[in-house]
Amino acid sequence: MENLIALLIAAPLLGAGLLLCGGRRLDRVGHLLGTVLAAASFVIGVVLFADMLGKGGEERALHQHLFSWVPVEGFQADIAFQLDQLSMTFVLLITGVGTLIHIYSIGYMEHDERRRRFFGYLNLFLAAMLLLVLADNYLLLYFGWEGVGLASYLLIGFWQHKPSAATAAKKAFLVNRVGDMGLSIAIMLMFTTFGTFAFGPVLESTGEASDGTITGIGLMLLLAACGKSAQVPLQSWLGDAMEGPTPVSALIHAATMVTAGVYLITRSGAIFNASPDAQLVVVVVGAVTLLFGAIVGCAKDDIKKALAGSTMSQIGYMILAAGLGPIGYVFAIMHLVTHGFFKAGLFLGAGSVMHGMNDEVDMRKYGGLRKYMPVTFVTFGLGYLAIIGFPGLSGFWSKDKIIEAAFAKGGTEGWILGAVTLLGAALTAYYMTRVMLMTFFGEKRWQPDAEGNEPHPHESPKSMTIPMIVLAFGSVFAGGLFSLNESFVKWLEPVTAFEHGHPPISAGAVTASTVVVLLIGVGAAYLQYGRKPVPVIAPRGSLLTRAARRDLLQDDFNHVVLVRGGEHLTRSLVYVDHTLVDGVVNGTAASFGGLSGRLRKLQNGYARSYAVSMFGGTAVLIAATLLMRAV
């Protein structure tokens, strides 16, 4: 069975190789080939899953050792895979949602002449993401980690002719690299501390290392997670990443890649468990991002950017849960999976809307679309209900558990975290209702564009709606299925460990308050956007709104401090290199030249002058000889 693991990765990798190197010949079948290989990977995943279910909880993990990657004295990095329940969860999510999005893209990218390459990139992403979750050591994980970064870069910048897309892609890669720096330092720390960076040995011996080291490793892993999962302070790339085609936003920047940070923290649970300080920082980062993303989401008029803010906020939930330790890991992953369904669904819905609206993304120019695209409306609506945590739907089950776990943290921290998560829930309800109302309800607000093309909203083709329907099913039922008999907890417990949290207030009270804040959020949004018509031109808004529209000024800060500062630094360094470093050398040369110029004057060409120097030289020689004899 374990030999199948490599096939999981090999299938999409083969697809990527064929599609990217195959040339024009494959243009006509490329998309089908890519989809089939993604589906093949999913099938293999299901087979492995079925096999895994047949075994006991502790024996389910599979290992496959392919070959030694970097065999150097004292440094063993292997290409080896580990498939346990946690990885399995991700494999199914990645290949499942991935396949759906491949199918969706067939329709979405139909008119793009570079569709073959798009599928190549998607397959490359799948391969890299699977490598990330299947790796059995941190270095191989890093391989996958950067691989998904590359795929993300290529896909964000897929429409490279748009300067904004190219810039966004670059920004995403760079910000991620900052996070990667954290991951590589963490790996180096592990190597010097434990002499290895394979999951097993490292995680088993965390207790023996010093607290400082473990905290250091934890914080560096967190930095990595922040980069990949768009957490404060490295969140700025995610909004811009929406420049990519919408299926990409759904797959990479909502369902799978951005959750890699959560995977990393959960996978490294032992390290965080051993360092309460690191855990605290994780929780704080999660909480801050949760609110940050939600606030940004409330202010954006671009439907994809609003959803991106929401993604950030939801991942904040997951990171927060992961930071709570064994009481939260399972729920972090559970929320991750349900979020994968409903957020992918929402993005695909948004893509469907854009598809019908000539790629218009401004929600102020939508309105009343429910009549024109009923399937999109229904699936998007189900996703909406799931994300705001409407009781009974997926989001409710997972989010409610996280809120409970936050309260269960205990002490003042518990209360604060609980309050933050509740506030987040309210905000989620608010901004998602706003999106829903602005898009599908009210009057139509679209107008012909400058060239006089009026959009004709229409329902998307089958290849696009079917994945949306499937994902809508997931959004509705997945959470309930997982919570049934605590099946998800039991499934993951052998890997992540699990403790029941004991919130200071009863679980029922938590649930009740969740529902209450949910209603408040929905109500507020309805009052603002449902009762009165939405202005096509955005009102100026309060200071907070304006700041939130600009991503709470993070980009401005980055621009002023990093970009401008960096420009000045490089420019001055170029100057320094030219004048100072080169100048010293050229100066030396010039001073020799000057000296020679002076000395040249001695060479006046008069034989008598030379004779004087000869004569003087002879005198000096004689003097030296006499002196030597005297001494």
């Binding site: 910048g157 490279q160 690299r177 590589s184 180096m188 190597f191 010097t192 501390t193 040995p201 170029v574």
Partner: protein
């Protein structure tokens, strides 16, 4: 007596150089084919040497030794360890690609006279450089090495000064001025280094009474050759300075951007991927092996200089407006990594540094040669003259991106393995330096992606609208290099197997052991 394989690897390109140079003016294309054939023959010989080399065997293999200048104990002594044989193979591997890539670089613009034979000269000089570089990787006699180290400056000087980049912003006149400036700067820097090295070589001879590396190393090891600490340090500095100039290390790096900017892309590859490697290789072979104590004494300073090179080179690369100068500064940053790995004196660092030399050779060759193809199409080196190339020449853009990704050490491509090894090796002994060096990977991403964004993406620049995509000859150059990058990125084992024993030898030379991990992890 067995067949002198190592001599043959150097003799074949040397003979090739002479034959190529002797081709009559009218048979220009024939000269190219002859040069290519000789370089391929060299490659075959190098491959044989690589196969015959036994990783677990003696330290120096395939040795040859003949008396040369007996009065001074100078011998013609050759031998390769794992590092030498790997670098020799790299050189032999890259030259055919360089020749292919520079196929039209030296075509005369107009027929000046029947005796005007630039093409023959160009390829003959390249082969001459190859011969000298290969022999310098094989020389185990300090004097022989010194001669080659200096002599290879001459053909490179002519390659820079005589066959510069035709794509010059200021026109032919300014181009010629800049070229000769760059060539002279290259020569003066390296001659200055070489001169100081000469003093140290003589000093070493006075101390040891022989030039043979093996004899000196043995005498050092068993204590019969006892140098005073001060003397050892001075000699070390003499050698190190020359190698640092060649490598190049901050602050003696400024010749490289000029040289690489003004030379044609294949020659720039020759300089940075092949000739400069002699400097870093010599640090491993001579500095560490002959002066272990002094090397350890100098380590902190060298590491800081290497660190400065890494960050400084990367920052300057970001600020460049000229594609080739950008790559040159990137190379300075990479050489910083190599030197850091060498002087970290851990197994990982040194293995990493050796792999880095090879991987950097391949990756820079890939990036720079594609950049050369790009530049030759548009006739400009300025980044701002490009834009949207991806749309008109997707294969060119794709290969350029892969070269760029290799330069920024993306996992899966060969340079990642070496860069990470260097970082780990350094971090395990000097954590702070290791962490600061990690900043280099962010900056690398910055300059590569900025370069790619400005040249390849965005709206199509008018001047590149009719740019053709890569031709067959160019694909033949790029594809094998990329394949090799991918292969060595995932499966570097063949290379590490050869390199590891040599690294162990070096580690025992400097009497260093890797630091023990804090916790003995469960297996």
């Amino acid at each position: 007596m067995s067949f002198p394989l190592l001599t043959a690897t150097a003799a074949v390109p040397a003979i090739g150089a002479i034959v190529t140079a002797a081709v009559p003016a009218a048979r220009r294309t024939g000269a190219k084919w002859i040069a290519l054939a000789f370089s391929l023959a060299t490659l075959v010989l190098a491959a044989i040497a690589l196969v015959r080399f036994e990783p677990g065997g003696d330290r120096y293999q395939l040795t040859e030794s003949h008396a040369w200048i007996s009065d001074f104990g100078v011998r013609y002594e050759l031998g390769v360890d794992g590092i030498g044989v790997a670098l020799m193979a790299l050189t032999a591997l890259l030259i055919p690609f360089i020749i292919l890539a520079g196929w039209h670089d030296a075509d005369p613009l107009e027929t000046k006279s029947s005796r005007w034979r630039p093409t023959q000269g160009f390829f003959a000089l390249i082969l001459m450089v190859e011969a000298m570089v290969i022999l310098s990787f094989e020389a185990t006699d300090v004097f022989l090495f010194y001669i080659l180290f200096e002599a290879m400056l001459i053909p490179v000087y002519f390659l820079i000064g005589g066959f510069g980049d035709r794509a010059h912003a200021g026109g032919d006149e300014a181009g010629a001025t800049q070229r000769s400036y760059a060539a002279v700067k290259f020569l003066l820097y390296n001659l200055a280094g070489g001169l100081i090295m000469l003093a140290a070589v003589i000093g070493l001879f006075v101390q040891a009474g022989t030039f043979s590396l093996a004899e000196i190393a043995e005498a050092r090891a068993n204590g019969t050759l006892d140098m005073s600490t001060g003397m050892e340090r001075w000699l070390f500095l003499g050698f190190f300075f020359a190698f640092a100039v060649k490598a190049p290390l901050w602050p003696v790096h400024t010749w490289l951007p000029n040289a690489m900017g003004e030379a044609t892309a294949p020659v720039a590859v020759l300089i940075t991927a092949v000739v400069d490697k002699v400097g870093t290789f010599a640090m491993l072979r001579f500095c560490l092996q002959l002066f272990p104590e002094a090397s350890k004494w100098a380590t902190p300073v060298v590491l800081v200089l290497a660190l400065i090179s890494i960050v400084y080179g990367a920052l300057l690369a970001v600020g460049q407006r000229d594609i080739k100068r950008l790559i040159a500064y990137a190379s300075i940053s990479h050489f910083g990594f190599i030197i850091m790995g060498i002087f970290a004196m851990t197994s990982q660092g040194q293995s990493g540094a050796t792999l880095y030399m090879i991987n950097h050779g391949i990756s820079t060759a890939a990036l720079l040669l594609v950049a050369g193809f790009l530049i030759s199409r548009r006739g400009s080196r300025l980044i701002s003259d490009y834009g949207g190339v991806q749309k008109v020449a997707p294969v060119l853009a794709g290969t350029f991106l892969i070269g760029g990704l290799a330069t920024l050490s993306l996992p899966g491509l060969a340079p990642f393995v070496s860069e990470f090894l260097v970082l780990v090796g350094t971090f395990s002994v000097y954590p702070v330096i290791g962490i600061i060096a990690t900043v280099g990977i962010v900056l690398a991403a910055l300059y590569v992606l900025v370069l790619y964004q400005r040249t390849m993406t965005g709206p199509v620049n008018e001047s590149v609208r009719s740019m053709p995509d890569l031709k067959l000859r160019e694909l033949a150059v790029v594809t094998p290099l990329i394949a090799l990058l991918l292969f060595l990125g995932v499966y570097p084992k063949p290379l590490t197997d050869i390199v590891n024993p040599a690294v162990e030898h070096t580690m025992s030379d400097v009497q260093k052991t890797d630091p023990k991990p804090e916790v003995e992890a469960a297996p």
